[in-house]
């Protein structure tokens, strides 16, 4: 009896330690300065610049990810071809890649002295340390999150629905837009939210490939790092902002039901949510 209680107590203790450890830094950000003070710091030039750079780069990166990633995921998910599993693994590789490796890789590919540097030079384009570089870095680290989820969502689609669409006179394009996209929509949205969350917080690849120039390539994460020695209150305010944004994204993902059902092949979850 006592042993059993002891064990339960040990479990509870472990849970409390884990929770406190995970939450304490987040709470600390908000406790270091009063909320009014934090909010005021967001009005500073460096904060506004960072917000603008981050938003701009992420909106463009997300657009690129959705426009290119969605058809690519559909192809990988629904068209059997040799080496499919290998391709899916390749897509997932950047997920586990250290950000510094992504940064040096981008430099090696697109930098002035990189693989495609001469080509860009000829075209009069220089990518390194520009906003284009921020967009590329964000796209590179964030897109696998979307691709992975999009492939899973399309795979979960009942093939009979796509076949039915074809026999009803719809070509492959109409089938994609009218049947596959709407039915995979919830899963795609969850994937986009995840990749957006990853993109907003991007640090390592960006600082290596794009640098940290205020108003040009300095994103929120980079500004927090830069302000650490200059004005800790600005760093805290930007940190608080990112905590709130991240929490909002997490909530969005949790509320999207398809996120938890992306592995299901049943029609009914889609049907139920579609009719609500």
């Amino acid at each position: 009896m006592i042993r059993r209680r002891l064990f339960t107590a040990a479990l509870s203790l472990a849970a409390v330690i884990a929770l406190v450890f995970l939450l304490l830094p987040l709470v600390a950000i908000f406790l270091r300065a009063p909320p009014g003070e934090l909010f005021a710091q967001l009005g500073s030039k460096v904060a506004i610049d960072a917000i603008v750079v981050t938003l701009k780069a992420n909106v463009i990166a997300q657009a690129l990810i959705l426009v290119v990633g969605t058809p690519a995921a559909y192809l990988i998910a629904k068209h059997g071809f040799r080496g499919r599993a290998f391709v899916v693994t390749l897509v997932e590789l950047p997920l586990v890649l250290p950000p510094a490796v992504a940064g040096i890789g981008l430099l090696a590919a697109f930098g002035r002295l990189g693989l495609l540097g001469d080509t860009f030079d000829l075209l009069g384009v220089s990518i390194g340390f520009t906003q284009t570089a921020v967009v590329l870095a964000v796209t590179y680290v964030a897109s696998p999150f979307y691709l992975r989820q999009a492939i899973a969502s399309f795979e979960a689609l009942d093939n009979a629905l796509l076949d039915a669409s074809r026999t009803l006179g719809a070509g492959p394009a109409r089938t994609f837009f009218r049947i596959a996209l709407p039915l995979a929509g919830k899963g795609l949205a969850a994937g986009a939210a995840l990749s957006f969350a990853r993109g907003i917080g991007e640090f390592g690849a960006t600082i290596m490939f794009a640098g940290s120039l205020q108003g040009v390539t300095q994103t929120l994460s980079l500004a927090i790092y830069a302000q650490l020695d200059l004005n800790i209150d600005v760093a805290l305010a930007l940190g608080a902002l990112l905590v709130l944004v991240s929490a909002a994204i997490l909530l969005t993902i949790k509320v999207l039901p398809a996120w938890t059902r992306s592995g299901s092949t049943s029609l009914f979850p889609f049907a139920r949510f579609g009719s609500s």
Binding site: A160, L161, A164, S165, R166, G169, L183, L267
Partner: protein
């Protein structure tokens, strides 16, 4: 006149689907066990599977011709396909599902299939029978040249099945279209189709009307698929021009069919009568033994005596006071039997 002509060869996972078939303006049933390749035939006609060799033509229009490198995509084939679980689009209403087929006369179609009152409903809210009507309405809204039905009744529970089957029968009778129907249930095929074929492991075993398939099954598999009892034995010419079949247990049965060597005697349950005592009637064949099982189905009962199943009315069961374990005599006429060759690749 034949309107749908198939002659193709298509490798599937464990065997090759190979068949030649001509279907006129009739309902033609492909029956067979699951995994026999029935659905693959429909998918090949619809353009969802590409045969390796051969030709598929509809009303003289070539849909597929391997030699001429013609392979029309599904959307250009003018086929109506009703999928096994109906494959209704869950994010669309009934009306949107029907309109998706691209014709504007959706109101008329909804009315004809008695689903006008469900126009704004989603598929998830419909009963099995209603879903089937929507699936049919959607497939026919495009005015296809052929209707393909994949196990149209298997998604329904036994309760609604008979009603929906009768409804489907009425509809198919009114259609002036070739209909290719796939089912693993011979009873469904017998009700719905004017002709049928038995497909086993990718090959057609026999083609005929349901009555022909029942009356003269070409082999043991077809016979058992039609619901016949199969008793294995060895046949030789006996007295009076009858064939004498010695069963594996030593008992002897008689058939009017001529055969020699290893055979199966096929006899349908409804040809078997059950009595308490051996009777002096015209039946030559008698099997005596205890009733091993007695199952009631609606107004009939299936009575098993040894390897033989007889079907008798519930009234007879009561009159004779039949119970499991009691000794009875199961009898059938030599004229009610068919002798079918036992083939090594036959499965039960």
């Amino acid at each position: 006149m034949d309107t749908l002509r198939l002659d193709f060869s298509l490798p599937l996972r464990s065997f090759r689907l190979e068949l030649a078939l001509a279907v006129g303006r009739e309902t033609f049933a492909l029956v067979g066990p699951s995994g026999a390749g029935k659905t693959s035939v429909l998918r090949a006609v619809a353009g969802l599977l590409r045969p390796e060799r051969g030709r598929i033509a509809l009303d003289g229009r070539v849909l597929f011709d391997a030699a001429a490198k013609i392979d029309r995509p599904p959307e250009e084939r003018r086929v109506g396909f009703v999928f096994q679980e109906y494959a209704l689009f869950p994010h669309m209403t009934v009306e949107q599902n029907v309109v998706y087929a691209g014709r504007t006369r959706s109101a008329e179609v909804l009315e004809r299939f008695r689903i006008a009152h469900l126009a704004k409903a989603r598929p998830a809210e419909l009963s099995g029978g209603e879903r089937q009507r929507v699936g049919l309405a959607r497939a026919l809204a495009r005015e296809p040249d052929v209707l393909l039905l994949d196990e149209p009744l298997s998604a329904l529970d036994t309760h609604t099945r008979a009603g929906v089957r009768a409804e489907l029968k009425d509809l198919l009778d009114q259609l002036d279209l070739p209909v290719l129907l796939v089912t693993h249930d011979f009873q469904d095929a017998a009700v719905l189709a004017s002709r049928g074929a038995v497909l086993v492991d990718g090959r057609l075993r026999q083609i005929g009307t349901p009555a022909e398939l029942i009356a003269a099954p070409s082999d043991a598999f077809v016979a058992s698929f039609m619901g016949a009892n199969l008793l294995s034995g060895s046949a030789r010419l006996g007295l009076g021009g009858l064939t004498e079949v010695t069963l594996d247990d030593g008992s002897v049965l008689y058939s009017v069919d001529a055969a020699e060597g290893l055979v199966d005697i096929a006899v349908y349950p409804w040809e078997v009568s059950i009595a308490r005592e051996p009777t002096r009637d015209s039946a030559l064949n008698h099997v005596r033994g205890p009733i091993t099982s007695l199952v009631h189905i609606e107004n009939r009962a299936r009575v098993q005596v040894g390897a033989l199943v007889g079907e008798v009315t519930t009234a007879s069961v009561e009159r004779l006071n039949l119970k499991e374990g009691e000794f009875v005599v199961a009898s059938f006429k030599a004229a009610a039997t068919r002798l079918v060759a036992r083939s090594s690749d036959t499965r039960g």
